[in-house]
């Protein structure tokens, strides 16, 4: 798999982003327990990584040594990744109709029982440390695969995050790329009103990380930033701050500081799906 150019993949990324957003809403209709707002903010990130072929993967051999590792630390916000995995052949798309139902492996929060997920998710603040261990292990094995880790901004309140961030800088883990889904909303409020996390870029830079900031819903910006960051082996771990909107695509969620815990009613979802066309 070689990295594509944006000209080649732009139409596909746009189409897939819209499709993934729709599929995510459909899953939410089946499983209202799922965290819809958190999942919608990360749609373009998942789409760009996979359909933009930034990540090397083999859906038929999930433990392929040559794959880039992808750790989804904000596991609750990865429902939008389910349809993508099914579409790429990780599992039967029919399973998407059974999310959170008896006997399926697709729960409200994904674990590595789902093909395509590497780790146990659900408890926040674990992904970056595990990703550091993987990145270090790859380096010692003299392998050049990259480790991507998707985190939420709310996770940055966990102390373990900063233990890992400090570690990655010190150990020059330039094969580690953290993508921050910076949707600025926690469970109960805007992060700014809880404990202000800003300035995030400066915080990471003093921990010896390279930092880029993009609009997390702009697939072109995401694509070019991710291609660049992946290619840059300069002794520094990379952070991509993807500024996103929690609940992106659903107006009622976009303006709600409590969107994290909101579920949409079936009729609302039908209306949104019509509008999204």
């Amino acid at each position: 798999m070689s990295v594509e150019t944006i000209e080649n993949v732009r139409p596909l990324l746009r189409e897939k982003a819209l499709w993934a957003r729709r599929e995510t809403l459909k899953i939410h209709r089946i499983a209202p327990e799922t965290r819809i707002a958190s999942s919608l903010s990360a749609v373009e990130i998942f789409v760009t990584l996979y359909y933009g072929k930034i990540l090397r993967y083999d859906s038929k051999d999930t433990q392929w040594e040559g794959r880039d590792r992808f750790i989804i630390s904000k596991g609750h916000g990865a429902i939008s990744f389910y349809p993508i995995l099914a579409d790429l052949g990780y599992f039967d798309p029919k399973e998407l109709n059974r999310v959170c139902q008896e006997g399926t492996f697709l729960g409200g929060i994904p674990d590595s029982i789902i093909p395509g997920f590497e780790t146990i998710n659900g408890s926040l603040g674990h992904g970056p440390g595990v990703a550091c261990g993987i990145a270090l292990g790859l380096k010692r094995k003299r392998r050049n695969e990259s480790v991507f880790v998707l985190v939420g901004d709310g996770e940055l309140y966990e102390g373990s995050m900063w233990e890992a961030i400090m570690f990655a800088g010190e150990h020059h883990l330039d094969n580690l790329i953290m993508i921050l889904d910076n949707n600025r909303v926690c469970m109960l409020d805007y992060c700014k009103r809880i404990l202000d996390l800003e300035p995030l870029d400066e915080k990471f830079r003093v921990f010896r990380w390279d930092v880029r900031t993009v609009d997390g819903h702009d697939i072109e910006a995401l694509f070019s930033a991710l291609v660049e960051l992946k290619g840059e082996r300069n002794g520094r771990p990379k952070l991509l701050i993807a500024d996103t909107i929690k609940g992106k695509g659903v107006k009622s969620l976009e303006i709600d500081s409590l969107s994290h815990i909101k579920s949409l009613k079936p009729a609302e979802i039908d209306k949104i799906l019509e509008d999204l066309l």
Binding site: T119, I120, H126, G129, C132, G133, L136, R140, F167
Partner: protein, 320 residues
């Protein structure tokens, strides 16, 4: 039995160091915790020794990542901080994970029980057996001497599962002659055969139990002794076969009793089998130890010193 003494962690680390020459899949991580024997290891294998800093949470998470890449990882820290500061990391990334994938992370906690006597209750480790035993997919090794620890190195390399190794912090006497006296299949050894009472102990308290039974032997009183070094998995059935010939079982541990420690392990097998064997649990009651003094002094306060145990056993014998 010889009486040469050594510190368990030193013997264990020296053996790991030796193995690292021939096995480039071994990583040794420390949360800024050392040992005289660690110095050579960290110098020789600077690419596979990592001091993560005083950061037990990250110690576990980095160890997990390395294990996912196929490495055998030793994660080394002070026992109460390793098990309790990073408990949720252990639960999520080791215990949960190991149900789905092969994860060979060996948590080496130094300072079991009251090893760090004068450092006070933050450094005492009386909860670890209970809380680690609660975790599925976790194995627990609690050696009474350094020969056991040395022999256990092969096991850590062979059995690719998360394990908690609770090591005493102080030098301990040799109990075992060699591997012929040790079985990691059963996880315990019968060190003495007695008449009516059998002591079941683990870790440092087996050292204490040995001196107790030696003194009583000289008075013509024969007390049985079983040293349990694998607390999980636990060969309950096989231990029961031995203790069935006794009237009383006395469990002896440097941990809280009545929670989920060694005493409850034994209670469970006695209860399941509906035996008439009575049990007495010696250990620490539901209170932290703020008293200052060395281990011997603190044990006296808690009636776990040699004299107090002998007195309790003699009282018991009069009642039987």
């Amino acid at each position: 039995m010889t009486t040469d003494t050594a510190t368990i962690r030193d013997v264990f680390i020296e053996e790991i160091y030796r193995r690292m020459y021939n096995d480039d899949r071994i990583f040794f991580l420390s949360a800024d915790f050392g040992s005289p024997k660690l110095d050579a290891l960290r110098e020789t294998f600077s690419d596979r020794f990592i001091n993560v800093g005083i950061a037990e949470q990250n110690l576990i998470n980095v160890a997990t990542g390395l294990a996912l890449e196929g490495f055998t990882v030793y994660a080394y820290a002070i026992a109460p901080f390793l098990t309790m500061r990073a408990y949720e990391q252990i639960r999520v990334n080791l215990s949960l994970h190991a149900q789905l994938k092969e994860i060979n992370v060996n948590l080496i906690g130094v300072g079991a029980g009251l090893s760090y006597d004068v450092s006070g209750p933050t450094h005492h480790c009386l909860e670890d057996i209970s809380i680690m035993r609660t975790l599925p997919n976790m194995e627990i090794f609690s050696p009474s001497d350094w020969v056991l620890a040395k022999e256990f190195v092969n096991y850590t390399l062979r059995v690719k599962r998360p394990k908690y190794l609770r090591f005493d912090g102080k030098p301990v006497s040799r109990i075992y002659k060699d591997s012929s006296e040790i079985s990691f299949d059963t996880g315990f050894s019968e060190l003495n055969r007695g008449d009516k009472i059998c002591i079941v102990s683990t870790g440092y308290m087996t050292q204490r139990a040995l001196s107790v039974i030696r003194r009583l032997e000289s008075e013509g009183i024969h007390i049985g002794l079983i040293d349990v070094y694998l607390l999980k998995p636990f060969s309950g059935r096989k231990i029961l076969d031995i203790i069935q010939s006794y009237s009383y079982v006395v469990t002896l541990e440097e941990g809280f009793t009545g929670k989920a420690g060694l005493d409850i392990l034994i209670s469970e097998i006695l209860m399941k089998d509906r035996t008439r064997i009575q049990q007495i649990s010696l250990g620490f009651n539901d209170t932290y130890v703020f008293d200052i003094g060395n281990r011997e002094y603190l044990h006296k306060l808690k009636k776990l010193d040699e004299e107090s145990i002998i007195l309790q056993l003699k009282t018991l014998l009069r009642e039987i």
